[in-house]
């Protein structure tokens, strides 16, 4: 037996205080009797008698016991007892949807084997059930009975997201080291020897032939062009050569078809040129195989959506070139004519040589802001000639920009900014910053990319299109969104409809984590505005059902026999029950005593 908080025993010092209180209490009950004649023969208060002892009746001992039990309960007494808690880990990742030659999915087989394994256990300990995808987690508090655990197991279904193998290894390792007597892991991956003694692995990842679509990306044929170019990665994870046929559909209609012969374990890329505009594109692979999930992929033509821009500038004519970009509608306004209400109907705003008086309610680009800006706190240093010193090699804003050909003239450098990060660095400070505030994206440039000149200034035009695309918050490629990977909710999105049809409220700027399903998610903005977002499995390592790598579990106790699991069993509940019983007893005694007294009077 031990105590969680032995320091609480200091409150036992209250027991002498209780005794003193009993000694000191001067509140005898007053009773009127017919005559005190017969009482005169009795001696006075015992405690008032010389050398007498206090009157410590059994009520006193009840109260002392209550006090001591309360102190003991505060100290958190516990006893060690051996227990047999079991952790059940079932792999619910996408690869578990694969059908085996027996006609059952890997998941169903894993569940059956788990059920058998659980039946063989004593069943005297708690059973915790964990799933592995998208991140390992316990599905519910530990179950007390085998029946409850079985019921919960029957409810679990595999999702479209893959496992994070590193996290899963680490999770199993931690679980094996935790206070469980046994970890039963059922999944596609076998465990690499030596397996920690507490882990009992059930591997259901037998080799299955599979054909898969990997990535499905859309790009423009040319900058500003309407036509799209699709790239699909396909793979043949089977021991035989197969001719894979891909059918592309745009908004449900077939728009392209291609065949690709692939040798065993070969990966190929299919390109589709000049695809007509569509809202949602689907790629379907045939022939059918064991894992239908990776035979479909989705992409959305997000950049084709008309982007409405409000251009605020003392020289509104600079916005003229933007109208040449397909799908872009620009409204120009001078700073004097601008009001924040103008932002209600646009997707983004561009402030040229101007800054708003309050943080805009849409994504915005600030071009060469005048000094003294109070809203963004941009610290600007004008320069007659600015020069680029460096830029982010990867990123939406700098993607495909040939900075060596980008010539800048006069502009201004930005000082260090508290919440905006540097995208393009110059000799005298940052030349381009980006950041997010209040759920909106903001880009500030120390040079002026306007007027938009299109192909006449290609590097600047690409940079401008990147900025507009970034600020519009709409990706044109499916590669960014994979099942199991949360994404940031774009500005203006109030809710998201999952591919299954379930609608989930969302808040701009927060991570959207309900990403277990493959398909097209509809982001709902104000009114009826809907923006699709494609989320794909897009993981050929998952699709490779022929070779499932073994998981390596790093465990300090690997190879040694499992020590018995001892767990602390708190006695506080029993003490509290005893306390309540004693308090009730005291209440009954006091009531009866008063009742008797009242009767006597």
């Amino acid at each position: 037996m031990g105590l969680l908080y032995p320091g609480a025993l200091i409150f036992l010092a209250l027991v002498p205080v209780l005794v003193l209180a009993y000694l000191a209490k001067e509140r005898p009950s007053r009773v009127t009797v017919s005559s005190v004649l017969a009482f005169r023969a009795l001696r006075g208060f015992r405690r008032e008698r010389f050398g007498g002892r206090p009157r410590l009746d059994w009520m006193f001992f009840v109260e002392a016991l209550i006090l001591m039990l309360a102190v003991l309960a505060l100290a958190g007494p516990f006893i060690w007892r051996s227990s047999n808690p079991i952790a059940v880990v079932i792999d619910n990742s996408a690869s578990m949807q694969a059908l085996t030659p027996a006609g059952k999915s890997r998941f169903d087989i894993a569940r059956e084997k788990l059920d058998k394994a659980l039946s063989a256990e004593d069943g005297d300990g708690e059973i915790s059930i964990y799933v592995t995808a998208p991140q390992p987690r316990r599905v519910a508090p530990p179950y007390k009975s085998l029946a409850e655990a079985r019921f919960e197991l029957a409810r679990i279904k595999p999702i479209d997201a893959p496992n994070d193998q590193t996290t899963l290894s680490s999770f199993l390792s931690n679980l094996a080291e935790s206070r469980v007597s046994k970890v039963i892991f059922a999944g596609a991956n076998a465990l690499e020897a030596p397996v920690p003694p507490r882990i009992h692995a059930i591997a259901v990842g037998d080799a299955v032939a599979n054909l898969a679509i990997g990535s499905f990306t859309l790009r423009r044929e040319a900058l500003g062009a309407e036509a799209l170019h699709a790239s699909l990665t396909v793979a043949n994870f089977s021991p035989e050569t197969h001719t894979l046929e891909i059918v592309l559909r745009g908004d449900g209609k077939e728009i392209a078809r291609a065949k690709e012969p692939l040798a065993a374990r070969e990966t190929g890329v299919l390109e589709f040129q000049a695809l007509p505009p569509a809202r949602v594109y689907e790629a379907h692979l045939s022939p059918a195989d064991a894992l239908p999930l990776d035979n479909v992929a989705y992409a959305v033509g997000g950049s084709i959506k008309a982007v409405s821009i409000l251009f605020i500038s003392p020289t509104p004519a600079d916005a003229a070139g933007l109208n040449a970009i397909p799908g872009v509608a620009v409204t120009a306004r001078t700073p004097d004519a601008y009001t924040p209400d103008d932002l209600a109907t646009v997707d983004l705003a561009i402030f040229e040589y101007a800054t708003p008086k309050e943080l805009p309610a849409v994504n915005a680009m600030i071009v060469m802001p005048p000094p003294g800006d109070a809203v963004f706190g941009l610290n600007v240093t004008p320069a007659a000639q600015v020069a680029i010193a460096g830029w982010g090699k990867t990123g939406t804003l700098t993607d495909s920009v040939n900075f060596r050909l980008l010539s800048l003239r006069g502009g201004e450098y930005f000082g260090t900014h508290p919440w905006m990060s540097e995208v393009i660095a110059g000799d005298g400070g940052a030349l381009m910053l980006k950041g997010e505030r209040g759920g909106h994206r903001f880009v500030a440039t120390g040079f002026n990319p306007f007027p938009y000149l299109g192909k006449r200034n290609l590097p600047m035009s690409v940079l401008t299109l990147n900025a507009i695309s970034y600020l519009a918050g709409l990706g044109g490629s499916s590669i960014e969104n994979r099942t199991g990977q949360p994404w940031l909710v774009p500005a203006g999105v109030e809710s998201v409809i999952l591919p299954s049809g379930k609608k989930i409220a969302s808040k701009p700027g927060t991570l959207f984590t309900e990403v277990s399903e493959q398909g097209v998610y509809e982001m709902i903005g104000p009114g009826t505005a809907r923006t699709p977002r494609a989320v794909n499995l897009d993981d050929l390592t998952v699709s490779d059902l022929a070779s499932t790598p073994a998981l390596k579990i790093e465990s300090a106790s690997a190879g040694s026999s499992p020590a018995p699991v001892m767990e602390k069993s708190s006695l506080s509940d029993y003490l509290l029950a005893a306390l309540i019983a004693l308090i009730a007893l005291e209440a009954v005694i006091v009531y009866r005593r008063r009742h008797r007294m009242a009767e006597a009077l």
């Binding site: 005898p28 009950s29 007053r30 009773v31 009127t32 009797v33 017919s34 005559s35 005190v36 004649l37 017969a38 009482f39 005169r40 023969a41 009795l42 001696r43 006075g44 208060f45 015992r46 405690r47 008032e48 009157r55 009746d57 005593r593 008797r596 007294m597 009767e599 006597a600 009077l601």
Partner: protein, 299 residues
């Protein structure tokens, strides 16, 4: 029934009618009755002889004696008269405690029962209340069996209260009543023995036949419900005592109470007085009928 306490049921009253008050002396009454009077009268009870005087009733001449002595003697017989019965009920504050014991109500029942016995025997009854609150009873005799209802109604509004010196109060009553007779004093007698003996002694000195009926509560006599540290307050004097009562103290208290009652009983026996103790936790009817002899009643 008719304002009588519930305990005075018709069957009980019928049994009371078979009782009569017994006295150790003969007292002059106020009218004809069933008790021998010290007066010469016309009862069948021979009393004495005296010489014939002109005018005496010839019927009472003892002709046998005349034959032997040649002198005329008149046979004298005792008079039978009613008995003047005084019932004193202690209504001091102590009779109201413990409230649950209904001591005063028991005292009233006892008084009414005694009064009914007297009225049913053709005696006269004067009921007097010592202390208490409520309408005072007239110091007059009532006569006739039916008057019990009137007595009961008069006593309904009485409540115990106040404090008085027992001996002094009885002395005042004795002066007021003037005529001797049978006296019942109903009280808890929870007072100094000296005061009791002085009070009762007044009546014995006045040649009155006296019955002391002590009424004690069942809980009172056992100290039931008294436990722990208590401040005991005297209901009459307000005197306060602080005591710790446990089982031992309760035993000691019970013994003291019993000793007090024994002392009163002993005094009564020594003085030739009747004494009866009624504890309120017992059945009243059984007590009254079984203790009739102790109460100075006879069948």
């Amino acid at each position: 029934m008719f304002g009588l306490p519930d305990e005075l049921t018709p069957s009980f009253l019928a049994r009371l009618e078979k009782l009569r008050i017994r006295t150790r002396q003969q007292y002059a009454g106020m009218g004809r009755g069933m008790h021998l009077s010290p007066k010469r009268g016309s009862s069948l009870e021979f009393s004495d002889f005296r010489q014939y005087s002109p005018g005496d009733d010839f019927r009472y001449i003892d002709w046998g004696l005349y034959g032997r002595t040649d002198k005329l003697y008149i046979k004298l017989f005792q008079e039978e008269e009613d008995l003047l019965t005084y019932v004193f009920v202690d209504a001091s504050a102590s009779m109201g405690f413990p409230a649950g014991d209904r001591k005063f109500e028991s005292a009233i029942m006892t008084a009414l029962s005694v009064a009914y016995v007297a009225l049913a025997s053709g005696d006269r009854v004067m009921m007097r209340i010592l202390g208490g609150t409520g309408a005072a009873l007239n110091p007059s005799f009532v006569y006739g069996q039916h008057r019990i209802v009137e007595l009961a109604r008069r006593m309904q509004g009485l409540k115990p209260g106040g404090q008085f010196d027992f001996a002094t109060a009885l002395a005042h009553e004795l002066v007021a009543i003037r005529r001797v007779g049978k006296v019942f004093i109903i009280s808890d007698f929870l007072m100094l023995l000296n005061s009791i003996t002085r009070g009762l002694g007044l009546f014995t000195a006045a040649s009155m036949d006296l019955t002391a009926v002590q009424i004690l509560g069942g809980r009172e006599i056992n100290g039931q419900g008294l436990d722990g540290d208590l401040e005991i307050v005297d209901s009459e004097s307000g005197e306060r005592l602080r005591v710790s009562i446990g089982e031992r103290e309760r035993t000691q208290y019970r013994e003291t109470m019993m000793r007090l009652t024994r002392e009163i009983k002993s005094f009564c026996f020594k003085r030739g007085l009747h004494y009866a103790l009624y504890t309120t936790d017992t059945d009243f009817q059984k007590f009254f009928l079984r203790a009739a002899s102790d109460l100075g009643l006879a069948h």
